[in-house]
Amino acid sequence: MSQAETTSHFVAPPGAPPAILLDRVNKWYGQMHVLRDVSLSVAEKERVVVCGPSGSGKSTMIRCINRLETHQQGRIVVDGTELTDDTRALDTIRREVGMVFQSFNLFPHLTILENCTLAPIWVRKMPKAEAEELAMSYLTRVKIPEQAKKYPGQLSGGQQQRVAIARALCMKPKIMLFDEPTSALDPEMIKEVLDTMIGLAETGMTMVCVTHEMGFARQVADRVVFMDRGEIVESGPPNDLFENPQTDRLQLFLSQILRGH
């Protein structure tokens, strides 16, 4: 897929640099080619949903954006800073990019409040009182301020994932990445997390979200990117893409997803 094609589906404000730019990114695990010439440009305030069958490289791609995985070829520019081996550039980027994981990854030995204040205090050098105030405001926004003194193990999966979102937001990131945030949740808890994410999308946050929740994609996404076997196969506004898939691969994927639901 050429960059021209992937970027043609959105209209970036003239002159504004993209929040995230992937330019012909390649990555291998040993002999396995897991990202093939992936090019993607995400504008500020844009909400992109990435979908695709498992093993398609969507998680790998999103993890490359904050360098939890390193890419071997191509360029990744986040918020105007290119990702290289330079650790200072990496620190800058990680400060501006929040991430929510499939398995929550809360710190089990810290309380909910401490989970949220840790990074603001140690990375942003924020005074403790201020960090706690900030954390409480975000915990209120994800509707669990009353759990602040508990430990992650005492919360349900949905609550934990909402804490994870609040924890990332406490760093006041410009960009939020979601790596299958609802895949590890029981069905009855998926909605509370999706609602939180919809609320976040309404605030104008730049979001890249790997998910299979097609309803969420329709409601929130400006653009849906379909990946298969390490490459971006199709992308476009959700309704176009879902109603009018251009490739057999997307058709097959959509039929499987729909059958599954």
Binding site: D91, R94, F107, L118, V123, A168
Partner: protein, 369 residues
């Protein structure tokens, strides 16, 4: 056995377990007398236990000699003990020799100093074990206590007479070797474990691997020999530091290699997501390690960590072979005294009780975590 009767249901409708399974009698029936073989085994073991315990009680208490008179020369007269030998314990040897066993050849009139040191050590352990003292000040308490112990043992200032390290001995030596040893080996071990898992510093990783494998491949005894015999040969003429310090360093290096592997086990057991979440939040390596990784990893390895601590506490007794006067050495010397020939059992029992007290305290504490 009225409780065996009428198990049935009670009016509330809740079904209770059959009464026969309840209570100590029920337990014994289920576990000790549930078949004729287990009944026979139970009775046989019970008989042996009873014989053993009463026999020991007779020897240690009933027929024991607790003290002996002094003879004309002012030394204890062990005749009473010799007579009772075989039927009763001779605790008089302990009464006579306990200060030597505890403090070795430390000048007799100055032995209050090592005694205070032992109390300081114990106080330090208790304070360190209490969660409410787990603050930055604890490091200062440690430094202060260890400095005070140094001053007390050596003397030479504050009006205390100077006591050469050669004359130190007994329990303080054991506590010095194990406390300084583990207190310094542990941080070293954490660094080595972290170094060994480093992905982007191959040189550091290499050094850590070589260190651990080299030290682990050598018996502690040979390391102690190297420290006491070979090391001075390589030092320039006139430059020499004392034997206890050399043994201490050998001990730290040895313990650190083992502890490093225990810590590494904890680091490996921690899910990768924890480090990823810390990275994604932008935490620096040391913040990530100090606030997220180590608190969880070390908690996971408390049982093997304490196991290693206990092992090394007892291993300090190996300094016996390079002539350092620890608790066990002091006991051995006390046994070889002509007047008290043949009463090593009593001394060994006392030594065992002292070692057991420290090791059991460690074990008990770790199980409470």
């Amino acid at each position: 056995m009225s409780d065996i009767a009428a198990p049935a249901s009670d009016p509330s409708g809740a079904i209770r377990p059959p009464a026969i399974m309840l209570g100590p009698w029920g337990w014994a029936r289920a576990n000790l007398f549930n078949s004729w073989i287990s009944t026979a085994v139970t009775l046989a073991i019970g008989y042996l236990l009873l014989r053993g315990i009463t026999g020991f009680f007779d020897w240690a208490i009933v027929h024991a000699v607790w003290s002996v008179p002094l003879n004309a020369a002012g030394t204890p007269d062990a005749t009473a003990c010799q007579t009772a030998k075989g039927t009763g314990a001779c605790w008089a040897v302990i009464a006579d020799k306990y200060r030597f066993i505890l403090f070795g050849r430390y000048p007799y009139d100055q032995q209050w100093r090592p005694a205070i040191c032992v109390l300081l050590f114990i106080g330090l352990f208790i304070v360190s074990a209490m969660r409410r003292f787990w603050r930055r000040e604890l490091a200062l308490i440690w430094l202060g206590t260890l400095a005070a112990i140094g001053v007390l043992m050596w003397g030479g200032i504050l009006g205390l007479s100077f006591v050469q390290q050669d004359s130190w001995g007994g329990l303080p030596i054991t506590l010095i070797l194990s406390t300084f040893g583990l207190a310094l080996a542990f941080p070293l071990a954490v660094l080595v474990a972290l170094g060994r898992r480093s992905t982007n510093l191959p040189a550091v990783k290499m050094i850590c691997v070589v260190y651990v494998e080299l030290i682990r491949g050598v018996p502690l005894i040979s390391l102690l020999f190297m420290a006491s015999v070979m090391f001075p040969l390589f030092m320039p003429e006139g430059l020499n530091f004392d034997k206890l310090l050399r043994a201490q360093i050998a001990f730290i290096l040895f313990a650190a290699a083992y502890l490093a592997e225990v810590v590494r086990g904890g680091l490996q057991a921690l899910p990768k997501g924890q480090a990823e979440a810390a990275d994604a939040l932008g935490l620096s390596y040391w913040h990530k390690t100090g606030r997220i990784i180590l608190p969880q990893a070390l908690r996971l390895v408390i049982p093997p960590l304490v196991n290693t601590f206990i092992g090394f506490f007892k291993d300090t007794s190996l300094v016996l072979i390079i002539g350092i006067f620890d608790l066990l050495t002091a006991g051995k010397v006390a046994m070889s005294e002509p007047a008290w020939q043949g009463f090593s059992t009593e001394i060994h029992i006392v030594l065992a009780i002292i070692y057991f007290a420290f090791c059991f305290a460690m074990s008990k504490y770790s199980r409470g975590r």
